[in-house]
Symmetry: C2
Subunit: 179 residues, 2 copies
DNA sequence: GAGGACATATATCATATTGATATATCACCT
DNA sequence: AGGTGATATATCAATATGATATATGTCCTC
């Protein structure tokens, strides 16, 4: 069997707080979640249909607005499935870093190429780190309000710590390659 | 268009050093490369055929041994394609961390679940860190021999620095959740 | 030397994901 | 009236994953 559909769990997790449409879900994933998990319309919409036919979510009556938009709510079975997944300690954690792949094969070209790739990586990391820091600062203010905010904060902190380590590594890597 | 086939570049990079079979390539990816890029038979074998028909690699005459095994060598066109890719500064770098996804939604269950997931994550990171450290120690010894080894070492160092940051984060996360 | 376990070697398939594109409405500004 | 960009859903080709199928070679043990 191929890997389980994690997008199902992302959807259930997001719906556990509030009713949402597919479009809303995509926007949310693109925000806070995207740095550790991705989602696309191409898997969100089919997943919504599957979850509905499996009884894990229910579709609300078309909203009153003029535009076609259907929101979904989580069912009890859905909440149970979400909990089961949370309680399963086995998790897939993987990196897909093309920058490291290029560095690994950098012996095939001169060192300037390697340095350029590291410089581009550093630039991206610096930009993303600034975003994460702003996000975490906002979350820290509201951490007392609910446990959820604490968890959101901790995922952001993970990114901050990682990215800071990446920047330190860039220093070392640049020095090593130049020497 | 869907994302470019990076497996092609992994194969070209590996073949740029030595002739190999699909099986050899898989083994190599599973070793040093797997912590930042994955490959499977399901995409390696089709990619070998595509690369061959595109003239980027050539298949050697079946080897003398009794078992079916064909090795491939890189062509000049293949080496050029590899360089072009190396010189393209745009790279896809992404995380897929189910542990963070679970943590993000941990408000749906009690804090014990969150702590268990972090503990499992920590255990895995500690094990992988030990492997990476052993790998890096071996590479440091032979770093003078060729530029390649320096690059291999730097990718391992990236893993070590990241994983050490992860472990620090685990400490903070556990304390925060318990308090 | 028969049998089992495991590594070697290639191939294929169902499922999952990505990234792009298509289509259409709505909100806002000029 | 026209343009831009956000909202909203849907679908598709290309790609990747993980499992399975098939078969041979090697090594150890009983």
């Amino acid at each position: 069997m191929a890997r389980e559909k994690r997008i199902d769990m992302v959807i259930l997790g997001l719906l556990s707080h509030e009713e949402r449409s597919g479009y809303d879900i995509k926007k949310q994933i693109d925000g806070a979640i995207s740095f550790f998990w991705k989602g696309s319309f191409g898997n969100i919409y089919p997943a919504l249909k599957d979850l509905e036919s499996g009884g894990l979510i229910e579709r609300n009556a078309s909203n009153s607005g003029p535009r076609e938009k259907h929101t979904y709510r989580i069912t009890e079975a859905g909440a149970e499935a979400l909990k089961q997944w949370l309680r399963n300690e086995q998790s897939v954690n993987e990196l897909r870093y093309e920058t490291l792949l290029k560095l690994f094969f950098s012996g095939c070209d001169d060192r300037k190429t390697a340095l350029k790739n590291i410089a581009a990586f550093r630039k991206k990391v610096e930009a993303d780190l600034a975003i994460l820091k702003g996000y975490a600062a906002n979350l820290e203010k509201v951490r007392e309000e609910s446990a959820d905010h604490t968890y959101y904060y901790l995922t952001a902190l993970f990114g901050i710590k990682s990215y800071e380590a990446y920047l330190e590594w860039c220093e070392t890597a640049e020095k090593t390659i130049k020497s």
